[in-house]
């Protein structure tokens, strides 16, 4: 629980910090930041020379699939993927089997995360029983068991009356409702974005208007209820506009964008690769540009992965038949650094803000900062390194970047002062390939 991270460049937007410094963690909490810190006796040191040292990344939108879909991912493999990507906290979506709509499910997730998880796991409770969109789940009970937010993500809450009730009830519990915004009628049968490429490929498209309609509805409901809305995976010009207007009127609305919507467009779907099928779908270049603008001007609060593992057998089918979703925990930082920072769209500190500080603040979670006294959750990343995504720690490998090499390399991920991922070359395990060695060490508790 004690660790010194020395010689790195500490970038912490929560305290406007960007300078060479050491970070000392004691008893799992950040104890000191400053130059020339000495490791107390018996305390291990990570040499972060040439690397950035940032508060660990926080993902507000992860599908860990456990319980019930362990062939896709488990809490163990999902959190191993998380720390490999520099994440120290993930929020687990409720659409498991059974869904997280009752206290025992939440308790199981919390217990399993403590037993076998390698990063912090915050469950998200279902808005409705069985995710059926008909009656509210026992939200207070779920909150008491540890749920940090509520969502029927995977599908929209189509019933406006239920959404109203959810926002009102969650307000009492001090928790946000996370909305997957999609007009179910307009998106019926859709497998990609509706536009030139859906026409070219003869595939059924979901028009951008469908996302905009529900986003606008929910903003009106926030106005009505005083509730707290977090819009998941924003992907269209109109939805961005709606959120921007809501914010300018001081409404309690936040939103997130995913790395894949920031980096890719529907043009890529011409390959028919099912690793490009997700919901919301990859949109057109005009929508992608609007996302970049919204990231620059602060309309987008958070970058969240929507990490959605699916077994290779489920994805090795016709595009129409494949399930929606791509994994993202291991690639998110590398992709966003390339698309946002290397392109000079935003500064590095802003990226750390979008992926760590603001996510933590948005759901009121520990982490997202290296202020003394806060959680000892840290990622050490080599910006000049590279990572080849030939294989994944996630149980699934449905990534648009499978087989690609991207700039940046996670050198170490520290959760509560414990090294949970170690990407440093290790002489101790010679003969083994490094990823395996790192996995073995990352799993040690």
């Amino acid at each position: 629980m004690n660790l010194l991270i020395s010689n790195g460049r500490v970038v912490d937007p929560s305290q406007n910090l960007d300078r060479a410094a050491d970070v000392l963690i004691e008893d799992g909490l950040v104890a000191k930041i400053g130059p020339g810190l000495k490791a107390p006796k018996g305390v291990a040191t990570i040499d972060a020379a040439g690397c950035i040292v940032i508060p660990g990344l926080v993902d507000l939108h992860t599908h860990l699939r456990e319980p019930g879909q362990e062939h896709k991912e488990t809490i163990r493999t999902g959190t191993e993927a998380a720390v490999a990507g520099g994440y120290t906290s993930v929020c687990a979506m409720a659409n498991t089997t059974p869904p997280n709509d009752e206290r025992p499910v939440t308790e199981m997730i919390v217990a399993e995360a403590q037993r076998n998880g390698v990063c912090r796991v915050y469950p998200i409770g279902a808005v409705s029983k069985g995710l059926a969109g008909l009656e509210l789940s026992e939200m207070a009970d779920l909150r008491g068991a540890g749920c940090v937010a509520f969502s029927d993500d995977g599908k929209p809450v189509t019933n406006s009356k239920l959404m109203r009730a959810a926002l009102e009830y969650a307000r009492m519990l001090g928790a946000p409702v996370i909305a997957h915004e999609e007009d179910a009628f307009l998106a019926e049968g859709a497998v990609m974005h509706e536009g030139y490429y859906s026409t070219l490929l003869g595939m059924k498209g979901a028009p951008a208007a469908g996302e905009e309609i529900l986003t606008s509805r929910d903003i009106h409901l926030v106005e009505l209820t005083g509730g707290r809305l977090h819009v998941a995976h924003l992907s269209t010009v109109g939805a961005i506009e709606a959120v921007r207007r809501a914010k300018s009127r001081g409404l309690a609305v936040t939103c997130e964008a995913t790395p894949h919507h920031i980096a890719l467009t529907d043009e890529a779907v011409q390959s028919f690769s099912t690793d490009l099928k997700m919901n919301p779908p990859l949109r057109s270049e005009a929508h992608r540009r609007a996302l970049l603008e919204a990231i620059k001007d602060g309309t987008i609060d958070v970058i969240a992965t929507d990490h959605a593992p699916h077994h290779p057998d489920e994805k090795r089918v016709e595009f129409d038949l494949a399930p929606f979703g791509v994994i993202g925990l291991e690639t998110a930082f590398a992709v966003c650094h390339e698309v946002l920072v290397k392109s000079k769209t935003i500064k590095l500190a802003q990226l750390v803000d979008l992926m760590s500080t603001r996510p933590a603040r948005t759901f009121n979670l520990p982490g997202g900062t290296l202020k003394p006294g806060s959680a000892g959750d840290v990622a050490v990343i080599d910006l000049d390194g590279a990572t080849e995504f030939a294989s994944f720690r996630s149980r699934s490998h449905n990534s648009p970047w499978r087989g690609r090499t991207l700039g940046t390399r996670v050198v170490a991920t520290v959760v509560g002062g414990v090294v949970r991922f170690d990407g440093r070359p290790s002489p101790a395990v010679e003969g083994k390939s490094r990823p395996q060695a790192a996995r073995a060490r990352g799993a040690r508790r």
Binding site: Y196, S198, F272
Partner: protein, 315 residues
């Protein structure tokens, strides 16, 4: 104008989109030679002797399957035909497993019809056999577009500058997409007409004119291509009734008068008489619908021949 290409670049025919104008001309020129075979007393050449062609029809189709089978037999290929009903597909086998099982029989070519876009490409990426797309969902149906072009070229002596109007269910039609690729590559002028509910998003970016009036589409047309209203795919939100559809977009002899003198009427079949086309037109003097069927065999022979490594022979 004779084609400059002498062979196809790809092992597969997945669509018209990847073809060059020279390759399209090559197929059409080669088909001319094969049309002559169909007029002989013994309609068979030994070209594909010893080659195995599998016809994998995972969606019901009589017309296209029969046309391919005749083409294969006239080229002396060994053929096997599978359809979805009663097969392992109905028992939940995936397309990839089906394809790998078929591949164990070592076919030289697989002709595939499937309801999902991109499925021929899945096979092409996986299997060494030549894959011929015989229609994948609403994506492409390249041999239909080739036989349509063959028919137009036969009537007008060229494709460039010919005014082609395509009318009907554009949204759900693979035929229209392949035809647009082919006709625009060959410099024909393409107009599409349908109610906006049957017109897919941004299709004008494919280089076509879009109108929502049958009369406007017929004005100045050399070729009137009527598309089948796919009754099974319509819901009440695409148009109110068949009666209203026929009244607004159905082709009758009176309305056809707006087209150019010598205009021809085409239909990829099967027709819905009284829905998109009246019997007077379908059976009338302008109709080339049955010639399309005959030309289909010659065009498919040309495709099979060229994919088997054949070259255009100068006569």
């Amino acid at each position: 104008m004779r084609s400059q290409a002498t062979a196809l670049r790809s092992k597969d025919l997945l669509g018209i989109e990847p073809l060059s104008p020279e390759e399209i001309s090559l197929i059409l020129d080669t088909a001319e030679g094969f049309r002559e075979v169909s007029e002989r007393p013994i309609k068979k050449v030994p070209t594909l002797r010893g080659q195995l062609v599998i016809n994998l029809f995972m969606e019901a189709s009589t017309r296209t399957r029969v046309s391919f089978e005749i083409a294969e037999k006239r080229l002396s290929a060994d053929t096997l035909s599978f359809s979805a009903s009663g097969s392992s597909v109905e028992k939940g086998e995936t397309l990839i497993d089906t394809a790998q099982n078929l591949m164990a029989m070592q076919p030289d070519m697989i002709v595939i019809r499937h309801r999902h876009p991109g499925s021929p490409k899945m096979l092409a990426d996986l299997l060494p056999a030549s894959i011929i797309n015989a229609g994948d969902g609403a994506h492409e149906h390249p041999t239909q577009a080739l036989l349509d072009a063959f028919t137009i070229r036969e009537k007008f002596g060229r494709l460039a500058g010919v005014n082609v109007s395509i009318i009907g269910d554009i949204a759900h039609s693979r035929v229209v997409r392949s035809n647009i690729h082919l006709l625009t590559k060959m410099k024909a002028n393409v107009t599409l007409a349908a109610p906006p509910t049957l017109m897919p998003a941004e299709i004008e970016k494919m280089g076509v004119r879009v109108v929502h009036s049958l009369d406007e589409a017929l004005e100045g047309a050399d070729v009137v291509m009527m598309l089948r209203i796919q009754l099974e795919r319509q819901s009440k939100t695409t148009f109110p009734s068949l009666r209203e559809y026929f009244n607004t977009f159905g082709l009758t002899p009176e309305r056809l008068r707006r087209a150019n003198d010598g205009a021809i009427v085409m239909h990829p079949g099967p027709m819905n008489r009284g829905v998109e086309i009246s019997s007077d037109v379908a059976d009338g003097p302008y109709s080339v619908i049955l010639e399309q069927v005959t030309n289909g065999v010659a065009v498919r022979m040309a495709v099979l021949y060229l994919l088997a490594g054949g070259h255009l022979q100068e006569s």
